[in-house]
């Protein structure tokens, strides 16, 4: 295998011909997540014939269309349900789901919850931009308090949904949240998440200057990207400050979004358990047949 070193070689291997450039707006973070996924897949050295992408509806769900591999573009919020079907049909496939925050936590919330609870062996890459970007900027369940959207013109009063915390509580095997402006940690995290048996969730905080930024006085791309740097904090730093910091420091970091790996455990996945169950029942049947004779 030829070792890939530059982005040009990477694009030739992974991008579907004639699809690029994307339809994404200027300054959107979705392309960055796609590139990080490419690097992670490249470093793992997987055969792309065994990798299947599934996606729902939304900006993030257009990503499988740009990848030179099999993909499913499904109904709104049901990408995880379809992915479960693919994995059930052939557990040898590596199934990756690209989904957005509205798609995953808003419309398809229950599919997400039950896939995480059953610990189905898929990787969900959730790109969180705080808004339903493609359909015109409606308020998503993950939008921070006070943010303005077309359906919340006077500011959001609903408390936001913390998807990573939810996945931790449901016992997903791997949960991590990262921004898009620092490349190496997310690529490493993606590699770990893809290799993990069982449910792994990778949440990315991606800027959306057009639908979210413009309404929240962050229309300038540089300002919007800087917002993510100023309003996020590493999980380890947050915990240290909360334990040993002064009151002032605590007040400073209280409302910041935590980044990092939240959960990394090794529970048996759904298909592993299912295989064991089938084998057990087969043994039982053969014993019963033997007793009859």
């Amino acid at each position: 295998m030829v070792e890939i070193k530059t982005a040009d070689e990477l694009n030739k291997k992974f991008l579907r011909e004639g699809m690029w450039p994307t339809i994404f707006c200027n300054g959107c973070g979705h392309g960055v997540v796609l590139e990080y996924t490419f690097w992670a897949l490249e470093e793992l050295g997987w055969d792309m014939d065994n990798v299947i992408f599934a996606s729902g509806i939304g900006c993030s769900s257009r990503l499988p269309g740009y990848i030179n591999a099999d993909g499913l573009h499904t109904t709104h919020g049901r990408a995880i349900a379809f992915a479960t079907g693919i994995k059930a049909a052939n557990p040898d496939f590596n199934v990756i789901v690209f989904t957005g925050d509205g798609d995953c936590s808003g419309i398809g919330g229950n599919h997400f919850i039950h896939a995480a609870r059953r610990n189905i062996d898929i990787t969900v890459i959730m790109i969180n931009n705080f808004i339903y970007g493609m359909t015109g900027g409606q308020l998503a369940p993950t939008a921070p308090l006070g943010s303005i959207a077309t359906t919340a013109p006077y500011g959001n009063i609903e408390h936001p949904f913390d998807i990573s915390n939810l996945a931790c509580a449901l016992g997903a095997n791997y949960v991590a949240r990262w921004g898009v402006s620092h490349p190496y940690q997310p690529i490493k995290s993606l590699k770990e998440g893809l290799q993990k048996k069982g449910f792994s969730l990778l949440e990315f905080l991606a800027p959306c200057p057009t639908a979210y930024g413009r309404r929240n006085k962050l229309g300038d791309i540089k300002k919007h990207w800087a917002w993510y740097d100023n309003n996020t904090i590493l999980k380890e730093d947050y915990e240290k400050i909360m334990k040993y910091g002064t009151e002032e420091e605590k007040a400073q970091v209280k409302d910041k979004i935590q980044l990092g790996v939240f959960q990394d455990i090794q529970k048996s996945g759904f298909f592993e358990s299912y295989e064991k169950l089938v084998n057990r029942l087969k043994e039982k049947e053969t014993k019963a047949k033997g007793a009859k004779k």
């Binding site: 530059t6 450039p21 392309g31 540089k222 990207w225």
Partner: protein, 85 residues
């Protein structure tokens, strides 16, 4: 050397903003979309960290590290034991 795919660039200028050594600038040429893609400054300060390549949302940048040729050190000390001409 840094290669820019001009027609893929949308002109977000994230690469210029995020470059740690401030080696990039907007160019004078216009691309198909009517934006000005970035270019290397004349005095090449690039240290080939590849941040712009990884962070570009449109995968338009490729960084090709130049092999830095080290000049042979010229010393006055000649190897001992060699034949002198």
């Amino acid at each position: 050397m840094i290669e820019f795919k001009d027609d893929w660039c949308k002109g977000c200028n994230i690469c210029i903003d995020r470059c740690p050594v401030n080696a990039l600038e907007e160019s004078d040429r216009l691309n198909k979309k009517g934006v000005r893609p970035p270019q290397l400054k004349k005095d090449n300060k690039c240290n080939y960290c590849r941040l712009c390549e990884l962070i570009c949302p449109d995968l338009a940048i490729t960084v090709i590290p130049e092999e830095i040729k080290k000049e042979d050190k010229k010393t006055l000390l000649s190897p001992i034991g060699g034949k002198t001409k």
